[in-house]
Amino acid sequence: MPFAVQLSRVTKTFGAVVAVDDLSLSVPEGAVFGFIGPNGSGKTTTIRMIVNINYPDSGELMVFGEPMVPARTGLIGYLPEERGLYRKMKVRQLLQFFGELRCGHKVSAEVDEWLERLDLSRCADRRVETLSKGMSQRVQFIAAVVPAPRLLILDEPFTGLDPVSADALRDAILYLRQRGATVILSTHDMSVAETLCDNIFMIFGGRKVLDGSLESIQAQYGNDTVRVSVSDPGALANLPGAELIRDLGQAQELRIDRSCDPQRLLRTLVERTGVNSFSVAKPSLHDIFVRIAGPGAADA
């Protein structure tokens, strides 16, 4: 299988801090690849190394089978988490500037196409400083994808977007994948990672802790999650073989141990309170994330 990005035993330190520790990773071409991990775990450092902003102290980093050098930055579209634009420039002018910077030729047609796709045509001649936050974020997204890159790296692209803008961005990401682009998507939104990503990679303390498809990751944990909706949530306390791990308001998630029989658990619950719904499931990505990086993780 061809890989868009391959990291082999990459380490990066800043002074005494090891930001990325002996990391190996392969991102398949054409995939939407989710990067998850708590703040300060090494996600951004890893991304910056792929984009050639930071250099690894040791290890090997290949992009489309070749070492990453400045001349190849045109292959990558990069939307950083901390992003800003020239506020005095007009939108179309700014996007043409970024596009030309990436590929070396005029990109007027592509810019107009993307402005249309993300419903920004009417703002094309406005200065960036006059745009709303959502509009600015869509402009930043276009700046990262014009002209279509082979590898697109998006660091928290959905932060602060309203549902309509978020849907437009999601469609745009899928459109790019359809056209053959590989997408690395760094996100704290586990539902986005679950629904959008073909593969998920989790980094914690600079080390890889998860890598695979959602199904393969969930399979590692088995069907150890029960989602219930009950009349009296207080009845969920002190259940034998099960503990409440998340209260979603209208529903609750329980984690059951291997000795716990879900049928017996359901009977116990019915004896205690009214049960509106009961399902046995694999753990959500959110749950897995918390199990790895939650408050008790350091002791585990």
Binding site: V51, G74, P80, E82, G84, Y86, L101, R102
Partner: protein, 444 residues
Amino acid sequence: MRKILLMAKRDYLESIRAKSFILGLIVAPLLFGGGFLGIAIIKNRPDLRDRRIAIVDRTGAAADLIIRAAREKNDEEVYAKGTHRQVLPRYVFETVAPSAGDGKEQRVALSDRVRSRELAAFLEIWPEALQVEPKLDAENGGKQAARVAIYSNSTGVDNTRNWLRDPVNRALRRLHLGRLGVAEDGQEVILQSVPLSAMSLPVRDARTGGVQDGKKTDGSEIAAPLGLVMLLTMIVMVGTAPMLSAVTEDKGQRIFEMLLGLATPFELMAARVLAALGRALTSSAFYIAGAILVLQGMSMLGIVPFGLLPWFFVYLIAHVIMLCSFAAALGAACSSPQDAQNLAVVLVAPIMIPYFLLVPVMESPNGTLSTVISLIPPFTPPMMLLRQALPGGVAWWQPWLGLVLVIGWTIGGTFAAARIFRVAILMQGQAPKLREMMRWAVKG
């Protein structure tokens, strides 16, 4: 190089279209030349009210002679020759009989008259003024005791003191000469001063062998060199100083990380420096073209040192590159406008230090101090240009050596600045520390 040029073009066009640039083209010369303009205006519009001076003459013989000498000076200077228009204030005098005792009470009374502006000042002439050997004042650390004192409400650089120096000394010399038995007619011959005419050096024409005699100089020959150096300083200052805050501001707005996905830190910095250089060259072309047109209109084109213009531009380019790289590195290391403000003095120092050294260098352009200063790379552009432009010039090898040193310094400085820029540009929330910046410059 394509990316550098593209980013530089964007930065350059954005900045020269800004109102602040156009405004700066007009305001900067006023700020830099404003001091000189102000002095010229004040000098042409002096306070023409009479200045009354009281004389307390403890010699009993000097007052009349001082008043006579002052009247002669008034007649010579107060009215413009030809137009008879008053151009300077007239000094008028009154004599006050010395009081008995140490005179303290009298001095207080006269001081009150000065404070009430009835008098501009009062003179006190002690008998020691007529002694050949000055008396030493034991209470004043063995220094000379005052022989003639002027009391006023002004500072020691007040013009009244300067004006009175000549009549007072002339009067005292007349007294001495009279005591020595020199007749009054003879005294004038002795007291007259002969002006020294300043001449440029004669030159022999290499082709014809003829000698061109020296020309009378009146100080105006330093106008062009000084103007050229001030123009260089002004353009470098105006072109460089905003770089620091602009980089800090763009860093604060998180623009750089978007760009770092497309260009290297060195390319980003080089584009910034190139745009600043473009601005500086645009400004200098504007000013030089304007100056040439004005001087042509005034039939004074001859004072333009055309031969030095290539050196001017070479030094300008080196100076701007050197300082803008430095400014970009400092700006990258700052996390807030306050940090940038604190560091501005570090950036401005290499521009302003030569400015304060203009006078000593002009007084002795080929002295050791001038030569050494003009070969220190950060100071070379203005200092060497000044020395080259002054009459007499410099040894042929000095500008070339200075240029080699400046180029070496610029390359080294830009390289170190690029390293600092690369490390610092994505750092947030840390105030810049000199030691850290030095480490980044050396190790990257």
